[in-house]
Amino acid sequence: MIAELGLALLWIAAALACLSLVAAIVYLRSGKGELAALVRPASVAQGALTAAAFGVLIALFVRSDMSVELVARNSHSLKPMLFKVAGAWGNHEGSMLLWLTILGLSGALVALFEKRLREDTLIATLAAQAALSLGFFAFLLFSSNPFKRLPIAPPDGQGLNPLLQDPGLAFHPPTLYIGYVGLSVAFSFAVGALVTREIGPAFARAMRPWVLGSWIFLTLGIAAGSYWAYYELGWGGWWFWDPVENVSLIPWLAGAALLHSVSVTATRNALRAWTVMLAVIAFSMSMVGTFIVRSGLLTSVHSFAVDPERGTFLLVLMALYIGGALTLFAFRAGAVAEGKKFALLSREGSLVINNLLLTTILALVLLGTLYPIVAEAMGEKISIGPPYYNRVAGPLALILCLVMVAGPLLNWRRDDGRKLWSRLPAAVLAGAAVLFGLVLFGGHVGVLPLLGMTVAAVVGVASLAPLWGRNLRRTPLPTWGMVIAHFGVAVALAGMAAESAFIKERLVAAAPGETVKVGDFAVKFVGVQPVAGPNYTAIEGTLVATTSSGDSFTLRPAARTFPGLMGTPPTETNEAALLTRPGGQLYAVLGQPVTDADGRTDRYQLRLWWKPLVWWIWLGGGLIAVGGTLALLGRAQLLALWRARRARRKQERFA
């Protein structure tokens, strides 16, 4: 009953999307105002009903209703409740419904709260959003129905992949999806502005909070995913240039370029064509990403089950949306009147370089991800991984970081370089100090990590430069946001470079009582014991790590075995033990038991790493998100509205 209700809600929501679209088209062509009045409520209702349908799906998982095929394939009654709920979106159909829910809710929020934009542009925007929803509704309802029933309900489900049974990972998809699909609003605003030819500060101001908000979520989602891979996969890697990782990075890069560009358009009425194009590209890349993941185009540890039929459906949808938007762009963007000119050495100039570099990095990540297909068409099978990306994207990213610190110190339109001259020497000094320190005392450090740490030092100091000489309490929130976000980039860069350069690894077959030295630690292997969890059994090791100053810490890495449910083979996972210290992290993994030459069977494979400053990577990511949030709050009119209301009330009291 409930599943059918969910399906019915989806059909009604789809019908409402259709209604919004048709009413908007008729209104825009003929100007009939009554139809325009339908669009906002229809969008709100569509969002609410889709969210309700998603709630129904979650309820089905919570109740472990095995008569629904999705629940039977992805859940199990013994699963902890958090993972039952997470199971709702940990599969193709459920995550597609999540996509539609966010698409619908974003449209609803725009319909409810956007009051300043010109009416026809807003209607065109809501129409674009409805058009996007309609295509994905068709995809869901016709080829990926989440509420499909099984003729006979099995006694229990096939369970969720044990690798995904992790609290952090439970929230990783929704966070990312809010990011990906939030960018759809930017896409819709861009299309709406192109349709009504109102490409100016107004639409940029309407779009800006959406861009910032989605980008913040993308930053958090990607950082969380990286941290999850780091501690779950058992080898301490935090970025693999895996195709699915790359397709999450690409919208992030587009969003980063877009959030800078949209600010310029909103405040200075410049870079308008860039803003429109980046807005279209950002969500297009979200769609391309979801297509690549769901169609089995590329091998990846992340891929959903392969289904070329779904791939074709999505490809056709994307051709319509992206092709349509870019054609509209090609025909209408040229009509935008020329903006005021600016010099290369100016804030606009540096932002154009910023856009250019980010777009180039985006293009090369896309190229690297898809090139194996091109090479195969030419008869050669190749693999593209870190060596390529480090060599090509690395230098570009470093140059971008340097532009990032010069930009905020430049004036609009034309700058004479005096502020740069006066404030940058401190940063250059910091960079030089780090560089010489590393070259003289660092030992054997690779070129890229060396440059990375140097640039991180320059950026770290220079990102604070816009605050010098200002009254810090009167500095607007968006400026604080910019400073903290740019500083976060420096922190993350320093973490990445330091970890690559100074990581220490020890692989040993240790017997109980033996001590292994790694970094500054003496790690004693005490022993192992069997442990039972809610739905697994494990062998847990006990390690005692002592620093040279005498502090002692206990680590408990474990090797877990999840029984195979309904006939599938058991799965084994590694739970690494992490010890976070100010200087870095000690990472310990318990491997297989080893029978050595003497016949001893109590030796275990231990993998130990000392990773200097590795947690700075995610701290940096967090700082970037904090900076973005400050910028978002600073621009939100909430503060101003609240003050205006207070002032009005005061006046009324004295009236």
Binding site: F342, G349, V352, L357, I382, I384, P386, E505, G591
Partner: protein, 142 residues
């Protein structure tokens, strides 16, 4: 309820024959070389070699037995004095360029390596092309 439990227990003890061997890992699969410089060379090389039986991982990041055997080959060869490039070439001669995460530079991959530079040059020219034509107030266009 008890029927479900029985079914679960039956599933627990009835897993199908697993396609995994029973031998211990090769000696150098999980053991580092004694010389730190050689181990660093081996590690750097292993991180750029692709695991043949995994879904997109390097042999340095995989627990698959064949990946362990490949690590053993790499470390043994480095210990015997071979250069990382020679070992990479040796493996590519057997498995093709697919086994190396560092794509070659040849006719098929020229676009891959030169593409970003071309893109940057094209983009730069489009955005700032007007600088070349003339005087003071030239600049980029909004």
């Amino acid at each position: 309820m008890s029927a479900r439990l029985l079914l679960l227990l039956a599933a627990l003890f009835a897993f199908p024959a697993m396609a995994q061997d029973r031998l211990p890992p090769a000696p150098y699969a999980y053991q580092q070389l004694a010389d730190p410089a050689q181990e660093a060379q081996a590690k750097a090389l292993m991180e750029t070699l692709r695991c043949l039986v995994c879904q997109g991982q390097s042999i340095a990041d995989s627990d698959a037995p064949l990946a362990g055997d490949m690590r053993h080959e790499v470390r043994s060869k480095i210990a015997a004095g071979e250069s990382p490039d020679a070992i990479r070439t040796w493996l590519i001669a057997r498995y093709g360029n697919w086994v190396s995460y560092d794509p070659p530079f040849d006719a098929a991959t020229a676009l891959l390596w030169l593409g970003p530079l071309l893109f940057l040059a094209l983009g730069g020219w489009l955005a700032f092309g007007r600088f070349r034509r003339g005087a003071d107030e030239e600049g980029g266009e909004a």
